[in-house]
Symmetry: C2
């Protein structure tokens, strides 16, 4: 077999397990005698065009395992979305370093970059294998049952809402928490896993798969509050009106866009604050509090689904196998084959590249403010083992003495 | 010994371990033959005046242990701050139910309530023992080395900043996170425990014990960003200007105050957003993100310091012992007697009641934007065992081929 030189990079938003995939590439590649070099590009594709490489062969196995258990992209990441010229520049650098195999761990934008680079290499007659390794907390990659990174973020959201529900029961009022997810509501929907008892929150869940009507929202909140004396609400940052304009963007005084043309929805508490202001003004409810989970849901140190960690490792190991044993390009994907079992396949890059998966209608309750039991069946095996449990007092009442009314 | 009837309640903001104290009261009280009743008041002192009691003798031991491991006040809480008339009404209810021992788990406002109720009982010649059991994530009770609830919240803040630091290193920019703490900076200061390497964030820490100057803040951020290409900032929600006015309140369009006359600082992302806007406008740095940790830092399910859980249990067991064996009133307090060892004592209610402890000068760095090593020595034993660890790649650079400059 001819000599192989491997380059791996990480793109897009970090996750709790993206370094499992990095370790998976490096440790699997070490098994192949023909692999001469294992490089990492710092800060994704930007590190490629800048020739900013580190020698991953010099990392010890023990240390790689420690990095694997650490959240956030250890190589650094980037929001750059390469166009054709950028990809051609990348290819020139890959050739200069005689890279034969390129692995890019990322979301749908990253898979599109892999697609362009692979096409340019083929056009140029340069023998490059290019594989996209999936990751995204948004769970929005086509052709995947779910994506590495989502289960751990979902676990964080579940643990956050389970606690917030208890806090709200202790000091009743309305609590609104905004969860990441621009187009796909999976992560916000995961809040439903926080419920144990029928009156547990979140009592209302709003997802970007449905049009958000502020009047319906206020009526929903008021109805729950009237019934229970409190209300916990999960809202996706990507909720939008009938015209498709996001509720957050409509309210932001200065709209900031990244290199992909995306509006900045994260890193600001504006949406939660606005929704709370609306509730206070229109319902007369006094204790109304809002949180925005922000970066913690993807980076918090110490909240990992063991299922997610294992799968993130395996998709990367399989990526190396597909490339080095199978001599193939493509995008690695997780398919569910049992309850609970998965298979890891390689699909054409075109299936994933720059496309977005959203939640199936079967996962969305008809009323537009909740998920279905089918979604919980889908989600539960992903959350991993050892989930913390909340317990409430049985609370047997004592007869009144003074006030016998 | 004469018959005893016990009433326990929880007041103020919930914590991760306040139910350990509830379980501690109930399980310790079960050891005493003279205890005829163990009641819980729902929603703190409000449950007392409303005669809203539950019979805790009917909770199983196993179930109480599950509740103990659950965050947020299982009996419910309240923000009511009783005045004399309110306390007299409480006393009337206690007498009607022949309560002989009242335990109130709470912060400095709750200890003041215990003080008034105890005084009124003494004046009326009613034989009541009243004990305050400490809890607060703010760590601001006088006469305590630290308070139950703080260590677990500090652990959350540490894990949050450790992850946020990695995220910020992966996608560089400025990251500002706002942490709870109205007058005392302990919880914000705990962010310093997130650092492992010299260039780890938080790079700047602003506490309410020092006057906050926006110009100094901006210069600090710019200096760190120039040096490292990124900057992670921890800010207490209670930061204020030279006149004592809080930076958050100065900016809030509508100021909401609770029954204690406190401005609402939590449950809104306004402070983080404002500071980010200032940084963007005045420094020219483009990627600036803000988070407000909000209610998660006190209620997140599954982030507990085992040291904290143990101590929260023990202060309550000792409270019952002080009252039933010692026939004493007072406020239970934790004193540090070794590295690391504590003693649990009973101090006069007047020491704690309605007073606020802030950080010692020895814990604050001279520059006003960091803590000292002495604070980290103080904090570390409290965070508990099994803290997750972050690891970074050793990252040995590869020589450039194309760009040899």
């Amino acid at each position: 077999m001819s000599a192989a030189r491997i380059l791996v990079a990480q793109g897009g938003g970090p996750t709790a397990v993206i370094n499992q995939s990095l370790a998976g590439v490096v440790l699997e590649a070490r098994r192949y005698g023909q692999v001469e070099r294992i490089y990492g590009a710092r800060h994704g594709v930007r590190g490629v065009i800048n020739e900013d490489f580190v020698d991953l062969a010099q990392e010890t196995t023990l240390h790689l395992e420690r990095v694997a258990a650490t959240p956030a992209s250890a190589l650094g990441s980037t929001r750059d979305k390469p166009d054709l010229a950028y990809c051609q520049k990348m290819l020139a650098v890959l050739r200069a370093h005689a890279i034969t195999h390129f692995f890019y761990i990322g979301g749908n934008d990253s898979s599109d970059t892999v697609r362009i680079v692979a096409e340019e290499a083929a056009k140029a007659g340069y023998p490059l294998r290019a594989i996209h390794i999936p990751k995204t907390i948004d769970n929005d990659l086509m052709g995947n049952d779910h994506t590495p990174g989502f289960p751990s973020a979902a676990r964080f959201v579940m643990q956050a809402f389970a606690g917030a529900n208890l806090d709200n029961a202790a000091l009743p009022g309305v609590y609104v928490a905004v969860v990441m997810g621009r187009h796909a509501g999976f992560l916000t929907a995961a809040s439903a896993a926080a419920r144990t008892h029928p009156d547990d929150g979140p009592h209302l869940i709003y997802l970007p798969e449905r049009v958000f009507h502020i009047e319906t929202f206020l009526a929903d909140v008021k109805a729950v509050y009237t019934r229970l004396g409190r209300c916990v609400v999960a809202v996706s940052e990507g909720i939008h009106d009938a015209s498709g304009e996001s509720i957050a963007a409509r309210l932001a005084s200065a709209v900031e866009r990244d290199a992909h043309g995306n509006v900045q929805l994260s890193g600001t508490g504006a949406l939660a604050d606005l929704l709370c202001d609306e509730i206070k003004a229109k319902t007369g409810i006094k204790r109304v509090r809002g949180d925005t989970f922000g970066y913690l849901q993807r980076s918090f140190l110490g909240c990992v689904s063991d299922v997610d960690a294992r799968e993130a490792r395996e998709v990367a190991e399989r990526a190396v196998q597909f490339a080095l044993q199978g001599d193939r390009n493509g995008s690695v994907a997780i398919r569910r084959t049992g309850d609970y079992a998965i298979d890891i396949v390689l699909q054409p890059l075109e299936v994933v590249a720059a496309r977005t998966r959203v939640m199936d209608d079967a996962f969305l309750a008809a009323a537009g403010n909740d998920v279905t039991p089918a979604f919980l069946d889908y989600l539960r095996p992903l959350l991993g083992s050892g989930l913390p449990q909340a317990a409430r007092l049985r609370a047997v009442p004592v007869a009144k003495v003074l006030d016998r009314g």
